[in-house]
C-alpha cells in the first residue's frame, strides 16, 4: 500500500511536474508567471422547505492558451451539490459532494484528456450584519480524491481546509435588496493536507473583488477579478499565480408550495 501510494505520488509529480522546476530545490521561493483564467460560475440555492436548501453549482473554468488569454481552453467543469440546513438567519451548514472534471491544460502528452475528481465537502457559513454591510465567514472542508491523466494514474487523497471572509457592501441602496448594486471583496485561504502534501500546505490564497447586481431576491449577477497565489503540490518552493476573470450567476428559486410561503414566514424574525 505504501509502495503504491509512493508510486502514485511520484507519477503525479512526474505528470504535473513543470519541467522548469524539476530541478534541484531552490534556496528561495519562486514565483511562477501568472496564468490567466476565466470562470463562469452558476450558484443555485434552491429552497426545498422552510429550512432545507439544495445547493447546485456548476462552474466552467477556462484557462489561457498561448494565443488566447483567459478563455483559451477548458480547464475544469465543476459540479457541486449539497443539502443546506438553515439553522438561523446567521448560520447555515451544508453537506454534499463534488464531481469535477479536470481537463489537461499542460502541453505534455497524456493518456487521457479529462479525468474526474471526487470530493465530499461540508461547509459552515456565518453571516454578520454590521450596519448596512454584510460580512460572511465561510469554513469549507473538502475531502478530495484526484488523479492524473495517465492510465496508470491512481487517486490520491487530500483534505482541503478553506476559510473565506467575504464582505458585501450595497452601493446604491441602504441595504441589500432588489435592484441593489454591491461590491463584494473577499479573501480565501485554502490549506491542504494529506500524504501527498509534503511541503505545500498552502494550496491557494484567493483575493477577489466582484461587483454584483441583485435583480430580485431570486437572481443576482456578479463579476470580478481574482488574484490567487499558492504552492505547487510537488514542490512547495514554487508559487503559482493566477489572475481570474469571474462571472457569476446566483439563483435561488423557491420550490415550496404557495400555501407554505404565505404569509411570509422566515427564520427567527
Amino acid at each position: 500500500m505504501k509502495y503504491t501510494l509512493f508510486v502514485s505520488v511520484f507519477l503525479l509529480m512526474t505528470c504535473l511536474h513543470n519541467p522548469a522546476h524539476a530541478q534541484e530545490r531552490p534556496e528561495e521561493s519562486q514565483l511562477e508567471d501568472p496564468v490567466s483564467l476565466l470562470w463562469i460560475n452558476t450558484y443555485g440555492n434552491i429552497r426545498l422547505s422552510n429550512r432545507l436548501f439544495w445547493i447546485a453549482q456548476t462552474h466552467f473554468r477556462f484557462q489561457e492558451t498561448e494565443t488566447t488569454p483567459f478563455a483559451g481552453q477548458i480547464a475544469q467543469i465543476y459540479n457541486r451539490h449539497a443539502i443546506s440546513y438553515l439553522f438561523s438567519k446567521s448560520f447555515v451548514a451544508s453537506f454534499g459532494g463534488v464531481l469535477r472534471v479536470n481537463f489537461n491544460t499542460s502541453t505534455a502528452e497524456t493518456d487521457k484528456n479529462a479525468v474526474p475528481e471526487w470530493r465530499i465537502w461540508h461547509q459552515y457559513k456565518f453571516a454578520m450584519p454590521v450596519s448596512r454591510v454584510m460580512i460572511y465567514h465561510r469554513i469549507r472542508i473538502e475531502h478530495r480524491w484526484s488523479k492524473g491523466f495517465d492510465d496508470d494514474s491512481e487517486y490520491i487523497f487530500r483534505n482541503r481546509w478553506r476559510y473565506m471572509v467575504r464582505v458585501r457592501v450595497p452601493l446604491n441602496k441602504p441595504k441589500l435588496g432588489p435592484q441593489t448594486l454591491y461590491v463584494g471583496p473577499e479573501a480565501e485561504l485554502i490549506m491542504q493536507s494529506g500524504k501527498a502534501v509534503v511541503d505545500s500546505p498552502m494550496e491557494d490564497l484567493r483575493l477577489h473583488t466582484s461587483f454584483g447586481y441583485i435583480l430580485n431576491p431570486r437572481l443576482t449577477l456578479a463579476s470580478g477579478v481574482m488574484y490567487s497565489i499558492g504552492q505547487e503540490l510537488e514542490d512547495g518552493a514554487y508559487y503559482k499565480q493566477k489572475w481570474t476573470l469571474r462571472f457569476h450567476v446566483y439563483f435561488s428559486p423557491d420550490l415550496r408550495q404557495v400555501k407554505y410561503k404565505l404569509p411570509a414566514i422566515h427564520m427567527n424574525e
Binding site: Y43, N45, R47, F53, S84, L86, K89, S90, V92, K125, A127, P129, M134, Y136, R168, K175, L176, G177, P178, I214, N216, P217, R218, T220, Y250, S252, D254, L262, A264, H266, M267, E269
Partner: protein
C-alpha cells in the same frame, strides 16, 4: 257504584236474586237524593295578604263550596312574634249557606316584640307593641244588624295606650239607625239617623280641647239645610239646601255629596268658600275603616259591608238634549284648552315682547280663557264629579257667567299702550236646537273656540314664519362655519400633501367658496333653507373628500406594504422585500390615482363629491382585497391598460359617477 250495580242486575242470574237486588236499589233512593254532605276543614288558608290557619264547615252544592257553620281564621303564629314584626288577622263568625250571620269578630293589626319578657305561672310572656283594629257586631243575612263597634288602638307593652278611633253605629238590615258616635284622638262626632237611614236633626262635632261643638250639620229628613262652623273667632253659617226642593233623591254621603255641598255653598256665598269640613273628615275616616272590614269580608264571602249613610238632595233630571249639548260644550272646551296651551310656547312668549300684534292676540286668548274657558272647565269638572243632576243648571250657568249669550260674535277689548284694541271673533250662525239649560253655555263654548281657533291659526303662522327665519339664520351660520372649517382644513392638509394631492385638496376649498358666493348672490325667492341645507351637506362631503385625499399617501404606504413580500435570499443571508403584483400596483399608482386627482381638480361639483369619496374608498378596499386574490389573469390584462375606466371595470369597481 250505581253503574256497577245496574250492570250486575242485567247480567244473567237466578230470577229470585234479581228481584232482591231491585229491592235494594229502591231502598237506596233516599240516600242518593241527599247529596249535601257537610265537610269540616282545618288547615292553611290565605285571606288577602294574610296567611294563616282556618277552621270552618262547608258543603258542596253543584260546583260551589258553600260555607256553613262556624268560621275561624288566625294568621299569626305566636312564635314569629318572638323575633320580628308581624301582621295579625283574626276572624271568627258564622255562615249560613255562604251568607255571614250572627256575631262576628274581626281583629287585625301589626305587632312587634318590645319591652320586657317575663315568666308568669310557668308561662313565658313577651310584651308586644303596635296597633290593632277590631270590629265586632252582628250580621243578619250578610248585612250589619245591631250595634257595630269599630276600634283602632295603639298597644304599648301589651296594654292599650291610646284609642285612635272608635265608631259605634246601630244598624237594622244594613241601614244605620238611631244615634251614632264616631271618635278619634282629637274629636267626637255624634248624630242620628231616621229609620230609613237618612241623616236627621243635628250632627255635632266636639273637640277635646274646646267646650261646645266646633261644627254642626243641620239635617231635616236627610236634607242638609245648613252647615255651621264655629271657630273661636266667629261662627260661619253656610246654607246648603235651605228650601225643600220640588224633586229630590237619596244619595250616599260620600265625596260626590261633599262636592255638591261645596258647590251649593259657593253659589250661596261666593265670597266665603268652604274649604274643609271636619265632620266630613270624620265620616270619611269611618268609611275608610268600614272599607277595610269590607275588604276582609269580600275575601271570604260576597257580602257588602258598609256604613251606608244617606242624605236627600235636590234632583234635576238631565234630558237627552241637555246631555248632548253639555257633552258638546265639554268637547269644545277641551279643544279650546288645547289652543290656549300654545300660550306656554316659549317662542311665542318671546315673540310677544317683540311683536305688538302677537302681544294683542295672546292677550285676547288669555282674556277668553279667563272669561269663558275657565268657567266652562268648571262645568266640565262638575259633570265629571256627577253632581250636575243635583244642581239647578240655569242657576249654575248664571253663577259661572255662562248663561248670557248675546248672540253676536265674541268681542274682547284689550288696552295696550294707552290705546284700546278690540278683537271681534268670527261670526257664527250656530244655533243649537232645542234650547235647553245648556244652550247658552254651548254657544259660548262654540264662539270661544271659534275665536281661539282663529287666533291660534294666526299665531301658529307667525310662529312658523319666525321658526323658519330662525332656522335659516342658524343654517346660514352653520354654512359659513362649515366653509371656514373646510378652508382651514384644506390649507393645513394641502401644505403637507404631495403636489397632485394638494391641488385636489385646494380645489375642494375653491369650489366651496364659489358655491357660497353663488348662494349669497343668488335669487332669494327660492327655497333658501333647502339650498343652505344642501350646501352644508355638500361642504361636509367636500371636507370628507379633502380628508380622504390627504390620507392618500398613508394609504399608498399601506397598500405598498401589503403588496410587499418578504423573501429570504440565501446568498446574502438577508430578508429582502419584494413588490408583488406589480401591474396592479402600477395601474393604481400610474393610472387610477392620477385620473381621480385630475378629475377632482378639473370637475368637482356638489353633485359628484360624494361619488369621488365613494370611489376612493372602494378603490382602497379593492386594493386591499386583491393582495390575497388570485390575480394572474387580471395582471395580464392590466399590463398595458391605460384607460382608467377600463382599469376600474377590470378590478371590479362600478364607477357610480357614470
Amino acid at each position: 257504584m250505581i253503574i256497577l250495580f245496574l250492570c250486575a242486575m242485567f247480567m244473567p242470574m237466578p230470577r229470585l236474586l234479581r228481584w232482591n237486588m231491585w229491592l235494594v236499589l229502591v231502598f237506596m233512593i233516599p240516600y242518593l237524593a241527599v247529596a249535601q254532605e257537610e265537610y269540616h276543614y282545618t288547615g292553611p288558608l290565605t285571606i288577602g295578604t294574610y296567611q294563616g290557619t282556618a277552621d270552618f264547615y262547608y258543603f258542596q252544592s253543584a260546583q260551589d263550596s258553600l260555607l256553613d257553620g262556624s268560621f275561624r281564621f288566625k294568621s299569626l303564629d305566636a312564635a314569629d312574634l318572638l323575633t320580628e314584626k308581624s301582621d295579625l288577622l283574626s276572624v271568627s263568625g258564622q255562615f249560613s249557606e255562604d251568607v255571614p250571620v250572627g256575631l262576628w269578630k274581626i281583629q287585625f293589626g301589626n305587632f312587634e316584640p318590645g319591652g320586657e319578657t317575663s315568666i308568669v305561672n310557668n308561662h313565658y310572656q313577651i310584651d308586644l307593641t303596635g296597633t290593632q283594629s277590631f270590629a265586632e257586631g252582628r250580621l243578619s243575612n250578610g248585612k250589619p244588624d245591631g250595634q257595630w263597634i269599630l276600634k283602632k288602638e295603639r298597644i304599648e307593652s301589651s296594654s292599650v295606650a291610646e284609642v285612635l278611633f272608635n265608631s259605634s253605629i246601630y244598624f237594622q238590615g244594613g241601614i244605620p239607625q238611631q244615634n251614632f258616635r264616631i271618635e278619634n284622638e282629637q274629636m267626637t262626632l255624634v248624630g242620628r239617623f231616621l229609620r230609613d237611614g237618612l241623616a236627621h236633626d243635628q250632627w255635632e262635632l266636639y273637640g277635646i280641647e274646646r267646650a261646645g261643638p266646633i261644627e254642626r250639620w243641620q239635617f231635616e229628613e236627610g236634607r242638609l239645610k245648613q252647615l255651621i262652623i264655629m271657630n273661636p273667632e266667629r261662627v260661619s253659617v253656610y246654607p246648603i239646601f235651605p228650601q225643600k226642593p220640588e224633586q229630590s233623591t237619596i244619595i250616599r254621603m260620600d265625596e260626590r255629596f261633599m262636592e255638591l255641598v261645596r258647590l251649593n255653598q259657593m253659589m250661596a256665598r261666593p265670597a266665603d268658600s268652604l274649604q274643609t269640613s271636619e265632620v266630613y273628615t270624620m265620616l270619611r275616616e269611618n268609611a275608610d275603616y268600614y272599607r277595610e272590614m269590607e275588604l276582609i269580608f269580600s275575601e271570604i264571602s260576597s257580602t257588602a259591608f258598609a256604613a251606608d249613610f244617606r242624605v236627600q238632595v235636590p234632583y234635576f233630571a238631565i234630558n237627552n238634549d241637555e246631555q248632548l249639548q253639555l257633552d258638546s260644550a265639554i268637547a269644545l272646551t277641551e279643544k279650546s284648552l288645547q289652543r290656549i296651551r300654545m300660550l306656554e310656547n316659549s317662542q311665542l312668549q318671546l315673540m310677544k315682547l317683540a311683536n305688538k300684534d302677537v302681544m294683542f292676540l295672546a292677550s285676547v286668548m288669555d282674556s277668553i280663557n279667563h272669561k269663558y274657558i275657565v268657567p266652562l272647565n268648571k262645568l266640565t269638572d262638575y259633570e265629571q264629579a256627577n253632581i250636575l243632576e243635583f244642581t239647578d243648571r240655569r242657576e249654575l250657568t248664571e253663577f259661572l257667567g255662562l248663561a248670557a249669550d248675546s248672540g253676536k260674535p265674541l268681542t274682547i277689548s284689550i288696552a295696550m299702550d294707552n290705546e284700546v284694541q278690540t278683537f271681534t271673533g268670527p261670526t257664527s250662525t250656530y244655533q243649537p236646537e232645542p234650547v235647553t239649560s245648556m244652550t247658552p253655555a254651548l254657544k259660548i263654548a262654540h264662539n270661544s273656540f271659534l275665536s281661539l281657533d282663529s287666533i291660534g291659526k294666526i299665531l301658529e303662522q307667525k310662529l312658523t314664519q319666525r321658526q323658519r327665519e330662525q332656522k335659516l339664520a342658524i343654517l346660514e351660520e352653520q354654512l359659513v362655519v362649515t366653509v371656514n372649517e373646510l378652508s382651514i382644513q384644506a390649507d393645513s392638509l394641502s401644505a403637507e400633501a404631495p403636489n397632485d394631492i394638494a391641488r385636489a385638496i385646494r380645489e375642494t376649498e375653491a369650489r366651496a367658496q364659489q358655491y357660497l358666493r353663488e348662494y349669497s348672490n343668488g335669487d332669494n325667492s327660492g327655497n333658501k333653507t333647502r339650498q343652505a341645507q344642501a350646501l352644508i351637506t355638500c361642504f361636509e362631503q367636500m371636507s370628507e373628500l379633502s380628508l380622504l385625499l390627504s390620507g392618500q399617501p398613508a394609504q399608498w404606504a399601506e397598500i405598498q406594504e401589503a403588496y410587499t413580500d418578504q423573501v429570504w435570499n440565501p446568498f446574502t443571508a438577508t430578508v429582502m422585500e419584494e413588490e408583488i403584483k406589480k401591474h396592479i400596483l402600477t395601474a393604481y399608482r400610474s393610472v387610477l390615482m392620477p385620473y381621480i386627482l385630475q378629475s377632482i381638480e378639473s370637475g368637482l361639483t356638489c353633485d359628484n363629491t360624494q361619488q369621488w369619496v365613494i370611489l376612493l374608498e372602494k378603490v382602497h378596499l379593492r386594493m386591499n382585497e386583491m393582495v390575497t386574490e388570485d390575480t394572474k389573469r387580471l395582471e395580464r390584462k392590466l399590463k398595458r391598460e391605460r384607460d382608467p375606466e377600463v382599469v376600474l371595470e377590470l378590478i371590479g369597481i362600478q364607477n357610480s359617477r357614470q
